[in-house]
């Protein structure tokens, strides 16, 4: 039902077992979390509106329509819900996750938000998996225990230089900090291509995506890499082998 979203066409996708699973809940931390969330949702190319639920006003301004359009999205698809608190936000998300006609549900929390605990994230993850609704949870503060499928850190990174020392397309330094039942601690520098609405691993020419064969060979190349121990206990009974899944 729910597919996977290729990110860098290489090592990162292999670690994720063929890309980011769409029918799941993913946690995003870091100063570029908003940008990463917006780009992931646009890259997922699922039809329907994006429900962006916020628990309140952050200190980083409001989402700007023209900026969404500049990333390649249609601002009219973005439905903004000002829930006015963490608990109303979670209730609204629970409603939204029952609606498979949505392209994605994004929860934007500000600050530590201790109410979003293990139980809450498990509920979000289970609902996302049951209905195949792509769910992203933006979090502030330090990482907290969570049952989300993956956890990411997103930082802005210096962009390519264009003529006259102008900054080029947005680049993000992202870290897969945690993956349930899989390896983690992988860094990748991604460049956003607005016209094709997808990421490319920075350093490659943005116009030329990595051929599938190369990506697959790279995934074989790291097949023997040791897994991080973090998710091993949860992985019982599940394969965490990137080859097995990307080949399937």
């Amino acid at each position: 039902m729910a597919g996977r979203l290729a990110l860098d066409g290489g090592r990162l996708d292999a670690t994720l077992g063929g890309g980011l699973l769409l029918g799941a809940c993913h946690e995003l931390y870091g100063p570029a979390a908003t940008a990463l969330a917006m780009m992931l949702v646009l890259a997922a190319t699922r039809p329907g509106p994006i429900l962006w639920i916020s628990d309140g006003q952050g200190e980083d301004g409001r989402i700007y329509g023209a900026g969404v359009a500049e990333l390649g999205g249609d601002p009219a698809r973005l439905w903004l819900v000002a829930a006015g608190g963490v608990v109303p936000m979670l209730r609204a998300a629970a409603e939204a996750q029952r609606c498979p006609a949505l392209a994605a549900v994004v929860l934007e929390s500000h600050g530590e938000a201790p109410a979003i605990d293990l139980t809450v994230t498990r509920r979000l993850q289970m609902a996302a998996a049951a209905q195949g609704v792509f769910t992203l949870l933006l979090r502030g503060g330090l990482p907290r225990p969570s049952a989300a499928l993956t956890r990411w850190q997103a930082q802005p990174a210096p962009a390519r230089r264009l003529v006259a020392n102008a900054p080029g397309p947005p680049r993000l330094a992202i870290t897969l900090a945690r993956q349930r039942g899989g390896p983690a601690d992988i860094n990748q520098l991604l460049e956003w291509n607005r016209d094709r609405r997808r990421f490319f691993a920075a350093g490659q020419s943005a116009g030329q995506p990595v051929p599938i064969g190369v990506a697959f060979a790279r995934s074989l190349g790291i097949a023997g890499a040791p897994h991080s121990g973090g998710g091993a206990a949860m992985a019982a009974g599940r394969t965490a082998d990137p080859i097995g899944r990307s080949a399937a």
Partner: protein, 492 residues
Amino acid sequence: MALPWLPAERLIRSGAAPPDVPLALIATDRGRQVIRAVNAAALAEGIGPGLALADARARLPDLRALPHDPAADATCLDWLAQGATRWSPMVAARAPYGLVIDISGAAHLFGGEASLVSDVVTRLHRLGFSAQPALAATPAAALALARFGGSRVSELPLAALSDAEPVQIGLRRAGLRSVGEVARLPRAAVASRFGEALLATLDALTETAPEPLDPLLPPADVWAEQRFASPIASHDAMRAALERLLLRCAAQMGGLGVGGRRFALALYRSDGHVARLAVDTAEPQRDARAVLRLFDERIAALNDPLDPGFGYDLLRLAVPVTARLDEAQLGLDGGALAETQLNELIDRLSARLGRGRLRRLVRADTHIPEQASFLGALGEAADTAWPSPAPGEPPTRPLRLFDPPQPIEVLAEVPDGPPRRFRWRRQVLDVTAQEGPERIAAEWWQRKDGAGLTRDYWRVEAADGRRFWLFRHGLYERETASPRWYLHGLFA
């Protein structure tokens, strides 16, 4: 229904005055304290409205006096009218102290007119209000009969025709004693002698031209109600009753080929209080279960939860707003199914959070950045399309915008050159790459003073990779000697 003692009884009910003691409500009129309303005990002592308080005190030294509050009386009357909708949906409050209930078609539900009237009087008495009931063919006649007593309109005194003293005197001088005698006169003569207004009142009293009732609630074509011999207080019982009412309304709407856009539930508590809840739907709806879920959301989101008190003895569901809903629309396939699911989601979220909290980004036709994108209501048609950016170019507008822009300190090599270094949130950031300026002029044609400073926008990247949208406010030397800098947005 006349409530002659309403002002006094309202105060007695609220505990501001003891019962059975002569009480007068006073207002200051041209420096004099004049009695505006009294209770029955005061009237029995010969003290009535219009008397000066000083004169009244001379007759009855221990007369209690409290200020008269017509606004509170009107609120109280409205509250009573709300409660009176239990007998019939057609209820109107008539200032100052009258209630009109249209019982045509409702009396049989209470075992006839007489038992309905006694039910009304008993319930009002339990609330502490003495009501004088009267039944008549027109609202004005019923009110007049309730106020002046009697059983026939033609026997009503002249005061029922006009409150103005000169008119009453004029009628009396003409040898008239009752409404019936005035009604027998030629209409043209009455109009030329006493004015059209008197004739209009006369017509409203007799059945010549009954004035329309202006009901408290707009009448609904589709409604259903359920009465309980013993009041229900539990949430489950209430929910089950609501579901039955929804099913009955759904059946009525199915017969009419319509769906409801608004569902209004009234819960009548046995002590006279009425709680009202309403849900709105984005599309016409007659699926009882879907609407029940909306009510669940609504009840869960209530700030002060429903207090059943001693229980509800009547639930009424009305569908005041309906729209066509054909069977064909109910047969759903792919696209229509997604549409329906999304509409239901909007309904549930707005029932829970309030419709104002669901927004979308709307583009305005202006080049002032902070006005170009604003929040519009969800569900409205898109108006202005967003421009598509030029292929191959990096984003020129930030993903997040500060409104208002945040003032920053900037170091530039030359006053009209690009920024080199700036301080934001107690952090000094070195600019490593920049693009600009993009010049955005103030909309001088929109401003009365014709002025407004030009902004020079720069897209800059700091050493740590963060990208910012800065602008210099005012052109150096041409518009201002020391332009200020602002940070307006954050790029990805």
